[in-house]
């Protein structure tokens, strides 16, 4: 049986296709100006990898901030619900799932079934989300993907304004004028962001194990800073950016099973 999950993110659309509960296809696309079209194409691509056609798919569930724009989905799943489901599926002992995406960060507390119990969201403010790193990389004139490795070379941290992207940019410029090295500034950026995310997690309570998902989980600089701030290890799956889509697909699978017993 095939099911699919579509995560309609603000910046990137992610698709996961499951065949009998195992991942059979993945695809992503830039959301751009026509997210529905982009999602259709990505879904076709993921189905191709999985060796299935749209007609073979029992259920498609959508999640993500643009979930209502997903192409013919059978249902929707909250982002927090999808994170919890995917986190516990990947790591059965996971109880805290942190999801840091382009424009939003979330922390979810869940039970052993992957059911969300509580959550904290940072929304409507760019500090604490991927956008912050992007803006700071621009100010530093460093490529986004180089920010993480660069920050690991820092010998110490110089504090910057963690609370606002606009002020953070000014702070980075001040540090450049003060001739702080780029690695140290990069480290300061990640520390600032990790500070914000960890304070969010602390409001929820840090329940081991802690899993980090979302596109920003691929940034080694952020991961290192977050581990330091949380004072605990953080587990990261192989495809952290697909966690939302995976969670939606898993929930679709549960529903499909319930609908037609096998």
């Amino acid at each position: 049986m095939f099911v699919a999950g579509i995560d309609m993110g603000i910046q990137t659309i992610k698709i996961v296709v499951l065949k009998d509960g195992a991942v059979a296809g993945r695809a992503k696309a830039h959301s751009g100006f026509e997210p529905t079209k982009a999602a259709e194409q990505a879904l076709a691509e993921a189905l191709k990898t999985a060796g299935a056609t749209r007609a073979d798919v029992a259920l498609v569930f959508a999640t993500g901030s643009g979930m209502e724009m997903a192409p013919d989905a059978n249902g929707t799943v909250s982002m927090m619900g999808a994170d919890a489901k995917a986190g516990v599926h990947l790591y059965p002992d996971a109880r805290t799932i942190i999801d840091v995406g382009a424009e939003e960060a979330r922390a979810v507390r869940c039970d052993e079934r992957g059911i969300m119990m509580d959550f904290v969201v940072n929304e409507r403010c760019a500090a604490g989300a991927g956008t912050f790193i992007e803006a700071m990389a621009r100010a530093l004139e460093v490529k986004l993907e180089d920010m993480g490795p660069l920050s690991l070379k820092a010998e110490r941290a110089s504090p910057i304004n963690a609370s606002c992207v606009i002020f953070g940019e000014s702070d980075v410029v001040t540090l450049i004028h003060r001739q702080e090295s780029k690695p140290e500034i990069a480290r300061a950026v990640f520390d600032a962001m990790a500070d914000r995310v960890s304070s969010m997690v602390h409001r929820l309570g840090v329940n081991p194990q802690v899993v980090l998902v979302g596109g920003v989980a691929k940034d080694v600089g952020f991961v290192e800073s977050l581990k330091r701030k949380l004072g605990t290890n953080v587990l990261i799956p192989e495809y952290p950016e697909y966690a939302g889509a995976l969670g939606a697909a898993l929930i679709a699978q549960g529903k499909a099973k319930g609908a037609k017993p096998q």
Binding site: R124, A126, T131, S163, V165, F167, S170
Partner: protein, 298 residues
Amino acid sequence: MTEPQKEYWRWEEYHRVLSEGNWKNKDLITAGVDVGSVGSKATIMIDGEVYSWAVRRTGSNSPDSAQKVFDWALENTGLKPGDIKYTVGTGYGRVNVPMANKAITEIACHAKGANYIWGPSVRTILDVGGQDIKAIHCDETGRVTSFLMNDKCAAGTGRGMEVFADLLKIPIEDIGKASLNVEEEPPPVSCTCVAFAKTEAIGLLRKGWTKEKVLAAYTRAMAVRMANLVNRVGLEKEFVITGGQSKNVGIVSRVETILGVKTLPSPNWREGGLDPMLAGAIGAASLAKSLYLKSKGT
């Protein structure tokens, strides 16, 4: 050769000496230096009356910015730094004002300065600076009775406005007027975060909105934010707006509409009147006089 990029966010720096001021035979000359995150202001007072001032952008070094604006305020006055009996530093960089005898928070200075500029009837002050917005409540002597502040977020601040001036390529002095140049007030932008509002604005421009309409939507959202802060501190007449954004007619008129109250008219700074941006520095120089007299036991 490429043309140097125009910096739309750059606002006017200037200094002024009031001709009617005469410091000879007067012995109490004080100064107030307000080092803000975006602008530095200095005021020289003779016996508690404003004599000269200077306004310039704050550089990356606070002590240096304080020194430069202080020196500029003294220019063409005939005064030497040694003639100044007492100097108070205020603003975000107040602890880094080298010539200051004392540092006082900008909240106290703004209330005192507003009391000087507009008189004892002022009760509520909205100070919109480069880096934060404050709603201040004061008594008839210009003493602070309560205040609320929004910091750590660029929404509504002068810095946020500079970002929009640059994005829309409209000189900062003109954005207030430009934001009023719409047939109908559009709904406010949904994001208050300046970083997200910028993305939203780009989307609106692509949709075919005029720059003025986008600016109106942004200014509206910021004015709502400011009005909320004022309402939370408690609006009591008379009401005034200080800080750099007091020069933004788009902000002032919208805040007035939302709150349903007019601000006391500001002196025309372009025609020699006191600049509402100077409230902090004037308050500092005024408090400097009291502190000097107190130190002399009078």
